[in-house]
Subunit: 195 residues, 2 copies
């Protein structure tokens, strides 16, 4: 409902939970771990949340929204498929880097949602993959991309991009845009070879 509120207790809880979930995983993080981060007693959290899983759900649902909000508009832009794909990669990497912990939780801990939320996330992920698959298929059709298997290519692209939280540390020497540029080049051109 409220759009990215600023300093409420609830937001502090989401922030702390994102950090802990992303580092240790959802199951290895207790409600008391989160509370301790905010100098609260374990039970006190429940004045603001209704369950641990609801916190996970809120984190995941929000980043999912962020991904669609960033990438969706690009899919409707009029430009060559190759450029469109590059712009989508940029947008996607932007969300990952700017919401690093939340994105890591999304990729890592969606399994721990109970039904029907789990299936809902899977459906969202499929739709999102579809946006990329369409761009890639368009690129193949127009001859811009030389591929056989749009589905496999799509999975590879997103797998590579979603691995960012596993290695990226914001030490400030590379901006999200620079990372996105390098990754887009790697993905579009490959490692390159002479043959």
């Amino acid at each position: 409902m409220s759009a990215t509120a600023p300093h409420t207790r609830k937001e502090q809880i989401y922030r702390a939970a994102s950090a802990l979930f992303s580092e240790r995983g959802y199951r290895a993080t207790s409600v008391r771990d989160i509370a301790r981060e905010l100098d609260l007693q374990g039970g006190s959290l429940y004045a603001h949340i209704s369950s641990k899983e609801d916190v996970l759900w809120e984190i995941i649902a929000r980043v999912a929204d962020s991904f669609f909000a960033a990438v969706r508009p690009i899919t409707e832009a009029e430009m060559p498929a190759g450029d469109r794909l590059r712009a989508m990669i940029h947008a996607h990497v932007g969300v990952v880097v700017n919401e690093l912990a939340r994105a890591a939780v999304f990729f890592q801990d969606w399994r721990h949602l109970s039904e029907p939320r789990r299936s809902e996330v899977l459906a969202l992920r499929d739709r999102y993959e579809g946006l990329f698959r369409t761009a890639i298929a368009d690129g193949i059709a127009s001859g811009e991309l030389a591929q056989r298997d749009a589905r496999l290519a799509t999975i590879m692209v997103l797998t590579a991009l979603n691995g960012i939280p596993g290695w990226f540390r914001a030490d400030g020497d590379r901006t999200a845009d620079e990372i996105a540029d390098e990754l887009a080049d790697l993905i579009l051109d490959g490692l390159g070879r002479s043959s």
Copy 2:
């Protein structure tokens, strides 16, 4: 000690644990879940294992060995760096696909090892990445690969490859070799583009 023993209870435990860990994660799998899979009582497992974490360690240490055993020899072969890298990718994918559950556990659950095992795994992973980084750096030096950043390229390659357990299902319509071929092409050539 014993080399990949066949049907001992211990091996059955490792097999069941690999399947469960890979599906639900280490923390979400109880010792009783594993026991149930073998029609045993929870406590009975401890006649064969000494702790839940030891089971995780055994799974992870073994696949780590498999990766080195498959890839290491290739790094010493005399051939152009591009061919060598392709062969390494093939070998790596072979291990992932043939030990799908164990590999998934390795990639997913190493965080849950306690020290010093956790650091040991990280050190092994660094050494292993180094094998690929060297091949890529060689390829850059010889002009076979057109890259700026060997480290980033290495991480991308392994990230893409290690994502396989996330989507690959052995429905029999693609062999490990076919997968490896397609992935190697994708990684070496990229999606391809006309510009």
